[in-house]
């Protein structure tokens, strides 16, 4: 090796000729701390200050439990719908060639770009009993707007790109030769899809699901218009936080927010475990 001075065991950073490390890292850390870390730790601090009994009383309140169940339940259902249709959309975009593919591909990102409030009022108008789709569903006895089903619809809209954009690049990377080899060895198309393609896509699908789910749990703007917001029936947890804030009931708002964050992180942890398991299982 070179005659560089002996590596002093622990080193915060590798030496580099490029300047500006202190300035950029210092600024980034200061900005991150001011904008994100201090406010978030304020939330943790406030909920810790509540004490266990008070905290538990708020969280175990029937209305809170219901709101959490609705938020997590509808987000789960919507993410499941998106796994099916998002994967299908990704498949069609990656594998098939048709005129206007580029436009369809670009449209998938609409939910990222369209403000949630706009999506909310548009979906509500569509699914209201006199709306274009609501009118068709009315005779079938299906009510979407102002029910939990409406929440699922809004969350399907919000979550779609998360699944498509996670699965699509992995699908593009699939080596077609493996499929060809399987086909020449006599595998049916169904076998190829279930035994060769799906295992490779499973981790991406799980990631897409968890991203859509996490986004759905916290979603507010697109949901509150279509949900009808009936306590115990179609009231989501983020809305309950807003309601408690408007009542100046800061402790309740803080406790609900803290439990939401905790549950979301727990869920991400579980997803990570599932993912590492599926990586081991399917290589």
């Amino acid at each position: 090796m070179t005659t560089a001075p002996a590596q002093a065991g622990w080193r915060f950073r590798q030496p580099s000729v490029i300047p500006g490390f202190g300035l950029t890292l210092g600024f980034s850390l200061a900005y991150l701390t001011l904008i994100i870390l201090i406010p978030l730790s304020g939330l943790v601090w406030r909920s810790a200050a509540l004490g266990w009994t008070d905290f538990w009383a708020i969280v175990a309140d029937r209305r809170t439990i219901n709101a959490l169940e609705i938020s997590f339940g509808t987000a789960f259902a919507a993410a499941a719908v998106n796994v099916v249709f998002g994967t299908l959309v990704a498949w069609v975009l990656v594998r098939y060639r048709f005129p206007g593919r580029r436009i369809v591909d670009a449209m998938v990102d609409l939910p990222f770009a369209l403000p949630t409030a706009v999506a909310g009022i548009a979906l509500t108008t569509l699914y209201a009993p006199n709306g274009w789709i609501g009118k068709l569903l009315m005779p079938l006895g299906i009510k979407v707007a102002y029910t939990p089903l409406g929440i699922v619809i809004a969350l399907v809209f919000i979550g779609l790109p998360f699944v498509v954009r996670t699965v699509q690049p992995i699908m593009e990377e699939i080596d077609r030769e493996v499929e060809e080899a399987a086909a020449t060895l006599g595998a049916s198309r169904f076998q190829i899809i279930t035994r060769i393609l799906f295992p490779g896509l499973a981790p991406a699908i799980v990631t897409g699901f968890s991203l859509a789910f996490a986004r759905g749990v916290g979603e507010y703007g697109s949901v509150i218009f279509i949900a009808g917001n009936l306590p115990f029936k179609s009231e989501i947890a983020p809305l309950l936080i807003v309601i408690r804030l408007e009542e100046y009931n800061y402790p309740a708002a803080t406790a609900i927010a803290a439990i939401m964050l905790a549950l979301s992180f727990l869920m991400l942890l579980v997803v990570n475990l599932v993912q590492s398991w599926s990586r081991k299982r399917y290589g």
């Binding site: 000729v17 006599g186 100046y248």
Partner: protein, 294 residues
């Protein structure tokens, strides 16, 4: 392994690669289902926005947009984006420089922290500032004593917007600058350029399209943010109402034309964002971070 389903390979005649794609009818069905799904979930809502906005004619539409409250909402939205987007550009460039150009301990952890706002509900993003600056908040009494208004005023709206749009520029630039490596910068420095010149004449031109891409997404979210801003704004008409909040107020007042007229501007912004984003991806795909999506 003896698999009863394995039969002798029969050549298909529909296309050259029939063995590795679906049969024509299956393909048609899959495409029809995908298009129907996208049509119902993406295209119809977009059409509804413009249809409702123009439901009572162009006159009612322009009139709705000309109302003073709507005008002030548009002005506030532009102001908030004009402050919060540049802040996050400076942060994004700075964070990307530190993370992509240097190797240091805790880098992965720092990168994770930058993404944190994406996994926090917008309502909670607003709530944290209420807990900090609100009347019962940690700094509430001090701010009141000094006559500084943050909550229910423009600074609070800017802070909440900065919070939710925080990761956009950084997470676009970090992978891009990592991919490009340090070679160009080292060459410039060895030729006598100083750090600032290196950044300005070497790094920035290398990442300009990626930066624009990040800024585009950051701006779309900044102008469209609802939940976080709703919590900190106080909904004072003509003063602290951004466009998305104004949409809500008009909608709840059963002023459908007004609500959808403002919504149509935001939908137009979304469409312009998508078009520019697609153009950037098509033309400068290689100069934008390989990671797609968000």
């Amino acid at each position: 392994m003896a698999d009863p389903e394995i039969k002798s390979y029969e050549p298909h005649h529909e296309s050259q690669s029939a063995a590795v794609t679906e049969s024509r009818p299956v393909r048609a069905v899959l495409m029809a289902v995908a298009f129907a799904f996208l049509g119902i979930f993406l295209v119809l809502p977009l059409i509804v926005v413009f249809n409702e906005a123009l439901a009572k004619g162009v006159g009612a539409y322009t009139e709705a947009l000309a109302s003073p409250d709507t005008r002030s909402a548009i002005r506030l939205t532009l102001l908030v984006a004009a402050i919060s987007v540049p802040l996050n550009i400076v942060f994004g460039i700075s964070a990307a420089w530190a993370i992509a150009k240097f190797e240091f301990k805790g880098k992965a952890f720092l990168t994770t922290l930058i993404d944190l706002p994406f996994s926090v509900s917008p309502v909670i993003s607003g709530l944290v500032y209420v807990l900090l600056f609100g009347a019962q908040g940690l700094l509430g009494a001090w701010l009141k004593a000094h006559g500084i208004a943050i909550l229910f005023a423009v600074p609070g709206i800017v802070l909440a917007t900065v919070f939710v749009t925080f990761p956009f520029v950084a997470r676009e630039l970090i992978p891009l600058m990592q991919e490009q490596g340090n070679g160009d910068e080292e060459a410039a420095l060895s030729l006598g350029a100083n750090g600032w010149q290196t950044f300005w004449y070497v790094t920035l031109p290398n990442v300009k399209w990626g930066l624009l891409y990040g800024v585009l997404l950051c701006n779309a979210r900044a102008m469209g943010e609802f939940g976080a801003v709703s919590v900190v704004s106080g909904h004072i008409r003509g003063l602290t109402n951004t466009m998305p909040l104004h949409v809500e107020i008009l909608y709840n007042e059963y002023n459908a034309v007004g609500a959808f007229a403002v919504a149509s501007l935001l939908a137009g912004l979304a469409l312009v964002t998508l078009v520019l984003k697609t153009l950037l991806e098509m033309r400068y795909g290689a100069e934008i971070a390989a990671t797609r999506g968000h």
